[in-house]
């Protein structure tokens, strides 16, 4: 379930965007290639940081754990001759892998559909600009910024059997994170759920500062900003804390 959601989500979103651009190709035909790419990729990235990514993580973390809750298999997993660390880490890294896969597919589908548009509608000048390395960097930054949330949500889903608790907490925190980051609160970088939004904002600001109407603007992405470090630190600390909780926890 988690696997297919992380494959279908990028496919469906990119496909919708492709259709939208395809139908409005006349309006977009005078934009230069780079702006076109930014519009195309930005449409997803805009909500990606604020909503899609945190919610995707909530869902993936839930689905990886709920499969054991539902089948009541925690007790049999923990009565196998396998160390508790292996069980816990294997679960975590599968969730980790799913998030990575999903973001990777976003990059591939964005590039794929963009280039397809360029071929089908030659008036759209997608081929003018190569966005691949920039896009990869943006998504890599998003991925790193989301690891803090992943650790927290993973632990919540492991501890709570039902969907509502991790989902509710994740949702409230995401909204809080968006508000904090959106209002430019100074310490927003300390709150994990603000990180994806901050990552996107940093990029948008970089864009505004640089873009001059005449020359082709240069966009540089600073990968390791302080919110990324906080996100990584939270991810590691919660992961380790989670292991000790699992170790102490009785399996009902």
């Amino acid at each position: 379930m988690g696997f297919w959601s992380s494959v279908l989500l990028p496919l469906v979103l990119c496909l919708l965007l492709f259709i939208g651009f395809f139908n409005h190709s006349e309006k977009l035909s005078h934009s230069p290639g780079m702006i076109l790419w930014l519009q195309f990729a930005g449409a997803i990235l805009g909500i990606m940081g604020s909503l899609i990514l945190p919610m995707l993580i909530v869902f993936i973390a839930y689905s990886v754990n709920s499969i054991e809750h539902k089948a009541d298999t925690w007790k049999s997993l923990f009565s196998l001759p396998i160390s508790k660390l292996s069980v816990y880490a294997a679960k975590y890294f599968y969730a980790f892998f799913l998030v990575l896969l999903c973001l990777l597919l976003f990059v591939l589908f964005t590039l794929g559909f963009g280039n397809l548009l360029g071929v089908l509608k030659p008036e759209l000048k997608f081929s003018e600009y190569n966005v691949a390395s920039l896009l990869t960097k943006v998504y890599l930054k998003l991925f790193l910024s989301s690891l803090g949330i992943l650790s927290i949500q993973f632990l919540l889903s492991l501890l709570f059997r039902d969907f509502l608790k991790p989902m509710g907490i994740g949702f409230v925190c995401t909204i809080t994170g968006v508000i904090l980051a959106g209002n430019g609160w100074t310490y927003a970088y300390l709150f994990p759920y603000s990180h994806p939004m901050l990552a996107i904002k940093a990029m948008e600001e970089g864009l505004k500062n640089n873009s001059q109407p005449t020359a082709t603007p240069q966009i540089t992405i600073d990968l390791f900003t302080h919110e990324i470090w906080v996100s990584l630190a939270v991810a590691v600390v919660i992961f380790i804390a989670g292991y000790f909780i699992v170790l102490k926890k009785s399996v009902k």
């Binding site: 499969i67 539902k70 089948a71 009541d72 298999t73 925690w74 007790k75 049999s76 923990f78 009565s79 196998l80 001759p81 396998i82 160390s83 102490k248 009785s250 399996v251």
Partner: protein, 299 residues
């Protein structure tokens, strides 16, 4: 001893679920762990599997301390706790293959297990569509997959039909007799384990009320005289007046503790001479079921 616990105690909050339990399970035995629902059986089993942390007392399995040798011990145990843990979206065979992968057991073993529990024909059906009995059999197959020396089964015959119960019983007896396994099996039905168990432990309210071989249990069992007669109440009153202890009276029978055949004859004569019509009089062993109830009720 395969399982040896000393003063094992476990509390859920303020409630003591297991009270200083000292289990002794010898090698090669089928140990029937009996008690009514909620007596602490499952909690004990979870303690034995290190799913619950031991709060007081000690657990030794295969003569090794459980906490410090967890993985080594668990690698020799197959277990089935409460309802079997099965991935319902996978087929029976996929469930076994998945477990085989985790335990690094060859795939051949999966087919043997399917054969053993008669699930070969349903191997590719989704486990979600299995009947309760099939799920239980799959659970047993999962427990046996790694060819463990000790099997810990929590009410494995729950939901099985009589045929299934007999099959499981025969399978367990075969495992113990031919493959030198030890089986620890919990149940709330004495009749179910009576026919296979070599040793019995009876638990209620977390306390071990009886532990010993099945023969020890039967030795506790007092034979009695069963008298079938027309008017049981009158006869019972008459016997009481003549200084006999009447243990039980129902619509058709009277029960008196058995002392000797001589004594049984005297009762018969006495009743006949006083004009009571006796349909039958015989010596009877109290069945273990009643004994079990007696043990669990007196506590």
């Amino acid at each position: 001893m395969v399982i040896d616990t000393e003063g094992l105690t476990f509390n859920f909050g303020k409630q003591t679920v297991v009270k200083s339990l000292s289990l002794k399970v010898p090698e090669g035995s089928i140990y029937g762990f009996l008690g009514p629902n909620g007596a602490g059986k499952t909690t004990t089993i979870k303690l034995l599997l290190n799913l619950l942390k031991t709060q007081e007392g000690s657990i030794h399995i295969f003569e090794q301390e459980l906490q410090s040798n967890r993985i080594n011990i668990l690698s020799q145990i197959g277990s089935l706790i409460e309802q079997p843990a099965i991935y319902l979206h996978l087929s029976g065979k996929e469930n076994l293959l998945n477990r085989a992968l985790l335990l690094q057991v060859p795939e051949k073993r999966v087919n043997e297990m399917l054969d053993l529990v008669h699930l070969t024909s349903a191997a590719h059906k989704k486990a979600g569509q299995y009947s309760l009995g099939m799920k239980q059999r799959l659970g047993i197959a999962l427990a046996l997959l790694s060819d463990p020396k000790l099997l810990i089964l929590d009410e494995p015959t729950n939901g099985l039909d009589p045929n299934g119960i007999i099959e499981v019983r025969e399978l367990l007896i075969r495992l113990v007799n031919q493959h030198q396994k030890t089986v620890f099996i919990s149940s709330h039905l004495l009749a179910e384990v009576e026919r296979m168990a070599t040793h019995v432990g009876i638990i209620n309210f977390g306390e071990l009320l009886f532990q010993g071989s099945i023969n020890d249990l039967q030795a506790l069992n007092q034979p009695q005289v069963q008298i079938e007669t027309e008017n049981t109440v009158d006869v019972a009153n008459f016997l009481k007046r003549n200084n006999f202890t009447v243990t039980e009276v129902d619509d058709h029978h009277i029960y008196i503790p058995f002392t000797s055949k001589q004594n049984m004859g005297e009762i018969n004569t006495l009743l006949n001479q006083n004009g009571y019509i006796i349909y039958s009089i015989n010596k009877q062993q109290k069945d273990l079921e009643k004994l079990f109830l007696a043990i669990t009720h007196t506590a």
